[in-house]
Amino acid sequence: MISMSDEIPKVFKERYAGLVDDEEAFLACLNTLQPRGFRVNTLKASPAMIKERFSDYGISLQEVPWYKDAFISDEPDVGATFEHFTGEIYMQELASMLPPIAVQKELEKAKYVLDGCAAPGSKTTQMAAMMENKGLIVANDSSYSRIRALKFNQEKTGAINTVITNKDLRNFPKMQFDIVVLDVPCSSEGTIRKSYGVFSLWSEKHIKTISDLQKQLITKGFDLVAPGGTLIYSTCTFAPEENEAVVHHLLQERPAKMEKIDIPHLKISPPVDEWKNDVFSPEVKNAARIWPHHNNTGGFFLAKVGK
């Protein structure tokens, strides 16, 4: 039998051997299937109601210790439930639920929110639920073709406090938002457990290119935050070039203040303080790394920045 880890490029393994606490557990975890997660759309349903309905179907659900609205299920056809049809639940990778959770308190009183790279709408619809459909979310995406899915999901979930815009964020006009959420395009290494397809595009050169784009996006995103507001930057990759180095870049360019991320019952790991020839600003340590083997999720990185 061919182990899937044979397909993981050697360069990839070498890159992360020194960064991760337990290399063996990390690589073993990448070989396992990621649990299928979904979120209860609280605009239409409650976790208790969904639990009861799924129990009637004989589908067992596992609770997610760090998020009361999320569940895990082994059932491959959750997408064929009545509750999925009505938009009472939304299929979403667990780690991708983290950015809104990291700003949940701020969201509850926010009036103007920008989701800078919004398609296909997971975070937009999650935030609309947290805001109880009040205030305004500008859900922007630079790709018109991806907006189709965003629009479909936004309407299906009933996230109506939303305006969808189609603009390269770097050219976004001067506006001010209480919260800016930036889940940027990335090399997606953290989604390996869903598909090994990630490696077909993977190269250190690609990481470098995308890192340059991310630096432009984070600076622009910060400029769109109103004084007293919050920026949340995230990726689904392990690459320090796309994570710590991007946050470090922002701290050099702007008077940004890092804020600590604390999500009860979620194991958060510290960021790296240096990588190759770069030493990062000590403030970067407030960012959060989520390793797959710690919480049985995809890989993720989050930075919360105040203005």
Binding site: F82, E83, T86, G87, L136, I147, E155, N161
Partner: protein, 140 residues
Amino acid sequence: MKEMLFGYLEKRFGIPASVFAEHEFYAASKGRVYIGPKKAISEPNVVSVGMLAARISRTVKPSTNLLQLFGRHATKNTIKLDRENTLKYVRGEDIEVETDATGGYVLLAYKGSPIGCGFLEKGSVKNLLPKAKRAQLKFL
């Protein structure tokens, strides 16, 4: 336009205008009305504001998404479907029902969850579910 929609939803379904207090309505071309945030923006490059709430011509046709979101507030002209009819309706088929609802647009519901909008005429409900929403349900 807004008054016409409010009037219709109240009269036909018993959905009071007060449930829309946190939202605003926006008129678009071809009689389409969108429900969105109280305060929207008009640039840059706006693709859509909120979601389609209804199409208004001589009559008012509420959207599936509107009824799914606000249908819980309805007190009349609601048809509670059984499992079999829900399966059929979600597949995109017309269904036969026994109901005391009057002819016209009706709200369809299953297990207390609104499914969407149908058109009732002589005991038959015409399927108005958008094609993109059709599904083969395995669990219901």
